[in-house]
């Protein structure tokens, strides 16, 4: 009992407590900023509006919770992608490009390879997406490792290359010319719901959430428990020390980008391997889930568990934004408000410093290890 009490009291000062509190205060700050925007654009309905944003996820009960989770699954995975790369010292801005090629690979397999029976079809489609994303991650990895091309530059440019190539690929191979978008995947290629549709009826929930959970667990284990994660992090923290220790830092950069790319590719499969009418369109737009992944990783402080909660939070806020349309807010303004909340929330790393200060006044007088 005493131990538990100590644990609760000590929570704000423990490492995970510090992370939680900083993320939480970042969210509060983001919501406050969103509220100010609402006061500016529509003062009379601002209070009602902020209420809707904060409770929207529960608005229609389990159905809207289902929608929250549908939105969350891919950005949890792209958040993992960005967070994983970040833990290993790389800034993966290319999640959206990797997601796009993953999506195309998934759709291509999902539409064309109808010879695959039953469950095998969606599994192969998902694997194809993972592979495509991994290849799209390996390219900047190789450029960084062997030619010292900065990964931010390489991944940004590859985002556009992916976008144009995929639109071309859709037009050439899986084109629905009537609707000017990709063809719908075969029912066997849609990721099954694993019974989630019973828990969250009337939502377009898929098993993507399960895949996201699995990805979180795998990445957590790799980073925390394995020698592979140990050497990846060593390269990320200090490339020179890793080199000194005989770790092949060049190949580790490539591995790290391959995994980051594979995750984003998986996110592409999670978004598009569904029967609910989502397709790749032929308009030239970078898919937002990739960029949301950056914000998710920042809010979750790049840890797998943090990313999981951050992704669910973002999905939740987005559903709240959807219901905000009932009030007299312009659609664009809603996007601005939601984006502000999300991106201000992503500042949690900054808040970490303050959390430490506030809760450490006692602790600080006790100083460091020297």
């Amino acid at each position: 009992m005493n131990k538990l009490f100590k644990k609760i009291i000590g929570f704000p000062q423990s490492e995970s407590g510090e992370s939680f509190l900083s993320s939480f205060s970042a969210i509060l700050f983001g919501v406050a900023f969103g509220f100010i925007l609402m006061l500016i654009f529509n003062p009379s309905e601002a209070f009602e509006g902020i209420g809707i944003i904060l409770t929207g996820g529960f608005e229609a009960g389990r159905s809207s919770l289902g929608t929250v989770l549908v939105n969350s699954a891919p950005i949890i995975i792209t958040g993992l992608s960005v967070g994983f790369a970040f833990k290993t010292g790389l800034f993966n801005i290319g999640a959206t490009g990797q997601l796009t090629v993953g999506a195309f690979a998934a759709i291509f397999v999902g539409v064309n390879w109808t010879f695959l029976p039953g469950n095998l079809h969606w599994i192969v489609a998902v694997l194809a997406a993972i592979l495509a994303g991994a290849i799209w991650g390996i390219i900047p990895g190789l450029l960084k490792a062997f030619l010292n091309v900065h990964e931010v530059v390489a991944t940004i440019m590859l985002n556009y290359i992916a976008m144009y190539l995929v639109v071309l690929g859709v037009k050439e191979t899986v084109f629905n010319s009537l609707r000017s978008e990709s063809l719908s995947v075969h029912p066997n290629a849609a990721i099954p719901t694993f019974g989630l549709d019973k828990i969250f009826p009337d939502s377009s929930i898929t098993g993507g959430l399960i895949l996201a959970f699995i990805a979180v667990i795998i990445i957590y284990i790799i980073l925390k428990k394995t020698t592979f994660g140990y050497q990846l992090k060593a390269v990320g923290f200090n490339r020179y020390a890793a080199q000194y220790a005989g770790i092949n830092e060049k190949m580790n950069i490539v591995y790290s980008m391959a995994i980051a790319g594979a995750l984003s590719g998986l996110a592409g499969a999670v978004v598009f391997l569904t029967q609910s009418g989502i397709h790749i369109t032929t308009t030239y737009i970078l898919l937002p889930q990739g960029f949301d992944g950056i914000a998710v990783a920042l809010l979750g402080l790049s840890t797998p568990i943090g990313v999981l909660f951050a992704g669910i939070f973002f999905g939740y806020i987005k559903v709240g934004g959807f219901f905000l349309q009932r009030l007299a807010f312009e659609k664009e303004i809603i996007s601005v408000i939601i984006a502000s909340i999300i991106y201000f929330s992503a500042l949690s790393a900054i808040f970490k410093k303050y959390v430490r200060k506030v809760f450490a006044t006692k602790k600080n007088s006790d100083g460091g290890d020297e």
Binding site: F228, D366, D369, E370
Partner: protein, 506 residues
Amino acid sequence: MEYVIEMLNITKDFPGIRANDNVTLQLKKGEIHALLGENGAGKSTLMSILFGLYQPTSGTIKVRGEEVVVRNPNDANEMQIGMVHQHFKLVHNFTVAENIILGKEDTNRGFLNMDDAIKKITALSERYNFNIDANALISDISVGMQQRVEILKMLYRDAEIMIFDEPTAVLTPQEISELMKIMKHLTEEGKSIILITHKLKEIKAVSNRCSVLRKGKYIGTVDVGKTSIEQMAEMMVGRKVLFEVEKGASKIGESILSVKNLNMTNKVGKEVLRDVSFEVKAGEILCIAGIEGNGQTQLIEAITGLNSHFSGNVFIREDEITHKSIRNKTLTGIGHIPEDRHKHGLVLDYNLGENMILQSYFDNEFQNYGFLDFEAISKHTNDLIERFDIRIGRGERTSARSMSGGNQQKAIVAREFDRNPDLMIAVQPTRGLDVGAIEYIHKQLVRLRDENKAVLLVSLELDEVLSVSDRILVMYEGELVANVYPKDVTENDLGLYMSGSKRGAV
């Protein structure tokens, strides 16, 4: 007697540890006052209190006789207290003048008043014979010059009380004697200096008085002129210290490392290694002596594989390892205590335990099927902490970043010795360490040699070169210019070889 600073009965408690226990430090005007103590003795804590980074648990601080509370470093600045940190705080792509005015820029309607600043800096530089060009880029000047910039920074801010934290740790012997001249000059001009160091010789050379701390406790203040180095060392360590390295005659065995015709040019096309050939034999401590920057770093990089852009051959016993991977070399039996412990030696964001398995995490001892065996790592680390006397607060979970420099070095030494290599390459292994730790590391090197292993030591300290090594090679401008035995040479001879004014047979 007038004291400019008095820290009276300072006690500072951290949970579980009393970092300063009733410490008193009184600095007279115009004196150089050494603050002596081993790593973790509480010197840094005491100075942090003077600088307002920590508040004392009890005790008082008086500046020029008046009791004061130093809440933060800005308060300290206003009291004209300045500090030269061990690791300089300089912007490398700024000029000397830009660095000096940084934080105290004079402006004229929003524009920098650079001309006046440069005039003032030049005047200060001339007055103290700093011989410094205010317009030079920091990245273009030597470490010794960079330190002068730090001193100029204090002078520019009219500091009267100057704290030097381990100022000679990064300097060559010549630069050290220059610095000592400067410090004496400063006190002649009425400045007062606190010198934090563990180099007893330097204390003897420049200080007037010396206060000693040991494990947080105040041991006493002595008049340096009337106290011998041995007495001060005993005060610091709490027991008698051996300055002479005890070692028997060496039993030279087979050749362990042989290096043949190494040549290297750097990025701008300058020859940094010129036809370097030598052997290190089992049972021998071979020392590469030389002034910093004469190719020692590049030589070690070539042997260890950190740099592969060179020609020539490297052999361990009969096996050529010239272009083998670093991992391969490590496993062949090369231990390496690197020159830069922060850049190469440690992953500062890893904890101590994780750092202790840096080259062996893949070993079956520490992993099962790719999963790290944390229990084994913890056991291994605690064993090393014990055996190598690493002093830290939180065991293997202590983050490497939070450890003091001396303990970081001890951790690296522990890791490399524990791997029990046939060839130990130790690059300035005692840089910045206190006498107790230096004695310890020297003993370990000798023990390794007595176990019939080969030791290649790179050192800038002539004392160390002469007392530890069995044979000395001197490097000058990328070439070996002398091959001598310590009993046949004096410090003076070595100095002549090192400065290129004399050449011997190699």
